[in-house]
Symmetry: C2
Subunit: 192 residues, 2 copies
């Protein structure tokens, strides 16, 4: 399962609590793999049951006790096996609710569809801004929760952000062109 390998990958940089893992997900990997806290805790207990991680409890007086997880040798091996074993086929699941609605767009008024394309563009632009901020902080070296401070780690992290930005730019362009095509189509309809 991918979630478990994502977690093992993070733990390969150092021991951490479940709560800490969640932060790393949110601040860096979530671009690529998202996880909820309940999922993380559930998965940690099965990882421990299978011997991929071990845990120790650290008592704290002012805060709740921490359960700190450490990756085992077996866990490291499993992670590296998974990493080296790229899947033969990369069938990315195609389920996009926005696209599904566009597919049936002929059943809506043209104005309504254009409004939705514009909303789409607005939100994608917004997300582009957020991404740029994340990237800036990262380049300044500020973000403590981006694991791996080595230059090579940063290169790969940059690759993931780069892909998000490139595809964002593309889908925005796509939506703009769709609006144009819709308007042209409409104009030709009225003439004929």
């Amino acid at each position: 399962m991918s979630l478990s390998y994502a977690m093992l990958g993070i733990l390969s940089y150092g021991p951490m609590t479940g709560y800490g893992l969640k932060k790393v997900f949110d601040k860096s990997i979530s671009q690529v793999w998202a996880a909820s806290l309940s999922q993380i805790y559930r998965e940690l207990s099965t990882l421990e049951k299978n011997g991929y991680v071990s845990s120790t409890i650290q008592k704290q007086e002012d805060r709740p006790d921490k359960r700190i997880y450490t990756i085992t040798e077996i866990g490291k091996d499993a992670f590296l096996d998974w990493l080296g074993d790229f899947p033969e086929k990369l069938v990315f699941p195609q389920r996009d609710e926005f696209m599904l609605r566009i597919f049936f767009g002929s059943k809506l008024e043209k104005e309504e569809v254009i409004k939705q394309f514009e909303r789409f563009i607005f939100q994608k632009n917004q997300y582009m801004g957020i991404l740029s901020e994340i990237e800036d902080k990262f380049n300044e070296g500020g973000n403590e929760f981006v694991i791996g401070s080595a230059e090579k780690d940063k290169l790969f992290w940059h690759f993931t952000i780069k892909r998000s930005k490139m595809t964002l730019k593309t889908v925005i362009k796509w939506a703009e062109e769709c609006i144009k095509e819709l308007e042209q189509y409409d104009a030709s309809e009225i003439k004929s």
Copy 2:
């Protein structure tokens, strides 16, 4: 649930069997929303239970009997409601196994990573070819299972294909640039 609306959307073009729905999914909507047969049958029975579709059995001698589903007025209303009610936030789930591996790419040999990028490019190019074929057939007007033969239906179908092609082109470019950056990084490493 999106699957049910996808099915209602297809049935709004005309009555169909579960098996027929599967074909429409595979030949056109699967770009945007995929479905398996077992899912379709399960969903059809709940749709019928809730009064969104009704069914009649058509006896056949040489083939198994057909259960033909027809969308009801309630079903049509529900579909149009859903279609008009675009979601406020389009948070597309970010879970991509390939990207997850790239994220941890610093733990692999450079050559290994490049090999994976090249495999990625190869497969995306292959898929681009398939898409173009689908598009050509569609433009010739050949594909019987693309629902809705009206010009306006075609326009929206074209939008979905267009998006797939544009994003494919972009991710291929992304992977090519990553390879270049990896090689440049490696060269600078050796010098220093």
